[in-house]
Symmetry: C2
Subunit: 377 residues, 2 copies
DNA sequence: AGGTATTTGTATTGCCAATGAACTTATGAA
DNA sequence: TTCATAAGTTCATTGGCAATACAAATACCT
């Protein structure tokens, strides 16, 4: 999930790969079927080129042809192209404090399968948890065969910090995990034979799910309120992960200087006032402190990142009062709010958004580089 | 300075432009002269291709050939390529609260000319200030002719928020500017005939200057302590500006909830405890509050952005005590600090870093797209 | 019903930039 | 002086797109 600038020269295939991705992107983003001619018109390619690329996408099984519409005007009717709803699909897995989840998303972005099991995962240790997760994954893959879908890859969402290069979970404090090699543990047990699963942060993947659910989103902050508080940042419809993949650690932004001690060793972290444990506390001012703290932390993030939208997810999704606090804080603290107001809303996705986002991230990988998937059709 | 994803198909020239930039980049980054063969070896291109690209760069006046070294081993000696020190140069301009500055940076990144005038610019109004700035720019350009340099473009650093698409300064509170069209005012008065100047934030440009001065930097936060407090964020050696160019507004991150009133209308902003006015205040705890506040705000930025280096600039550059406070705060508050410590240091550049950075940004534009400058050789 | 206009999609040719192999140039070492 | 080695150049080949011409399928007009 990090960007590495490689020094490889562009070849002729680079340009084809790039144009194939461009054509595919247009088909994916269009609300209605796209003709080869429309593809050419939208990009500036000739119809010949657009046609060749369309044929390649068809041959790769990444798009499908649909019958032409009733034909409104003169001229030969266009055969439309739409994202394929069979073929490759992404497998998303989620480990969370109180549940495990698996889901499958196809190339259209539709969730085709979803299973989850409730249950506290704290203190069970990574081994048994990942074994259960693998079983969930295999059950999902088995159900899939009948639908004409094949798992192209898998991604695992974890509530913690991950070394993105290796897929090693450095710390997941709320699971009591430390330095867990999820990839090594999971790879042999998954239904995706050749490819190791990607491992990423739960909030990052949930942000991707949010992005997929709302085509209008472009640049936003997704804040996930669970036992811990994390955030995913999306810019230009792409996940922003920082240089090492640890961006969005909003949970330990100081919102009450000298405040309560946090598990991380510092004082006054957002997590101490707006984590689930604090939200559930019986003290009368808990909601007020959570709202104010969350507002200040999110305002800091918006000032630093320059975003125009905030989505509240996880436990925050059910708290309109927090939405109001955040909105008020943003109006007060964000410099540009005067002439460019920041939109705030609660997520409409359920508790397994991260699993959906993880599956979506696999699909995004295919969307971004269709040329790599031509051979495997 | 913002990224717009355009839907233009790749053509054959795209690949040439890309490879030309790749070759140029290698020449620019190499500590010693680079041969055509080394270029080929480093990129994987054939010697034929590398040679053709090298010739193109030479013809465009972007690189120069140097005599081969004393020849250590067998074989035909290599003719080295180095960045050209004549030809195109970038003009950087800076408007600040207490000075105006202009400077010229050549393609090697060297500062070839620098002038500044001290004097309080507050309350003078944009017109007279920009007139003085234009005079400074013209003086710089006139001195330039003798050195074989030509101004390729100009960039203006301003302590405020800029609409990057239009170059309009939305707000520069410490200059008392509001909605000033710097581009329209400056363009006809500048020595760069066809091109309108870019306009950007002072801290962003200063960060670029820091980047140019230290080849080891890749991902860092540059914090500029002036009357206002701003920050520039650099990822993968590229400026991160957010979707609208307003990223890095650290000055209004809340560090003392319910604290002193800020000019922006909120309370407890970083600027109220660590802006220049607060630093100069005679109260005994001013330094302590500034250090603690700055530390908390920077820790928030590092947690949110995932950075491994912080550079303190502007007035902070002369304050070792603040450096210590920041270091302590990062150790306490940054989640990943335990296993990936964050480096903190003070900038070695002077008060006109932003002007240098602005000029550098123009040069970066040429570095990034040499093909666009082939015709104008 | 038949011709024309219009639009979609396909086939052919030419161009551009990179590749690969052969060739030339310039040096050190035997 | 000759050979080995490495740098740089030349030339035919290849992959991909542009441009153009052509075939196919429909609506509209008479």
């Amino acid at each position: 999930m990090t960007s590495a600038s490689v020094r490889v020269p562009a070849r002729q295939q680079s340009i084809r790969a790039s144009n194939l991705a461009l054509a595919y992107r247009l088909v994916l983003d269009a609300p209605t079927p796209v003709s080869r001619a429309a593809l050419a018109a939208a990009t500036g390619m000739t119809r010949a080129t657009a046609g060749a690329l369309a044929d390649a996408l068809l041959a790769a099984g990444l798009v499908a042809e649909v019958a032409p519409p009733p034909a409104s005007s003169a001229g030969r009717p266009a055969t439309g192209l739409v994202p394929a709803s069979t073929g490759w699909a992404g497998l998303g897995l989620e480990v969370n404090v109180d549940h495990l989840a698996a889901c499958v998303v196809d190339l259209t972005g539709a969730v085709r399968h979803q299973v989850s099991i409730e249950g506290d995962q704290r203190g069970r240790g990574p081994g048994p948890v990942l074994a259960d997760l693998a079983e969930l994954a295999n059950r999902a893959a088995a159900d899939l065969a009948a639908t004409g879908l094949h798992v192209a890859g898998a991604a695992v969402a974890v509530p913690g910090l991950v070394r993105s290069t290796s897929g090693r979970v450095l710390r997941a404090p709320n699971l009591d995990w430390q330095d867990v090699d999820v990839v090594a543990d999971l790879t042999p047990r998954l239904p995706v034979t050749p490819l190791a699963p990607a491992v990423g942060n739960e909030a990052d993947y949930a942000a991707l799910a949010e992005l997929a659910a709302d085509r209008g989103l472009r640049d936003f902050l997704y804040v996930s309120g669970e036992i811990g508080v994390g955030a995913g940042v999306v810019f230009d419809r792409r996940l922003f992960t920082g240089s090492r993949g640890w961006a969005g650690e909003i949970g330990h932004v100081t919102v009450e200087p000298g405040g309560d001690a946090c598990r991380c060793g510092a004082r006054g972290c957002l997590e101490t006032v707006a984590g689930l444990d604090a939200l559930r506390a019986p003290t009368p001012d808990a909601a007020v402190r959570a709202g104010a703290g969350l507002g200040r932390a999110i305002a800091a993030a918006v000032n630093l990142y320059d975003l125009d939208t905030v989505v509240l997810g996880g436990a925050y999704a059910g708290r309109p009062d927090l939405e109001e606090s955040v909105r008020a804080a943003l109006t007060e603290h964000v410099v540009s709010a005067g002439w460019a107001p920041v939109a705030v809303r609660r997520s409409g996705l359920g508790g397994t958004a991260a699993a959906v986002g993880a599956a979506t991230s696999v699909v995004h990988g295919i969307h971004a580089d269709p040329a790599a998937w031509e051979a495997r059709a």
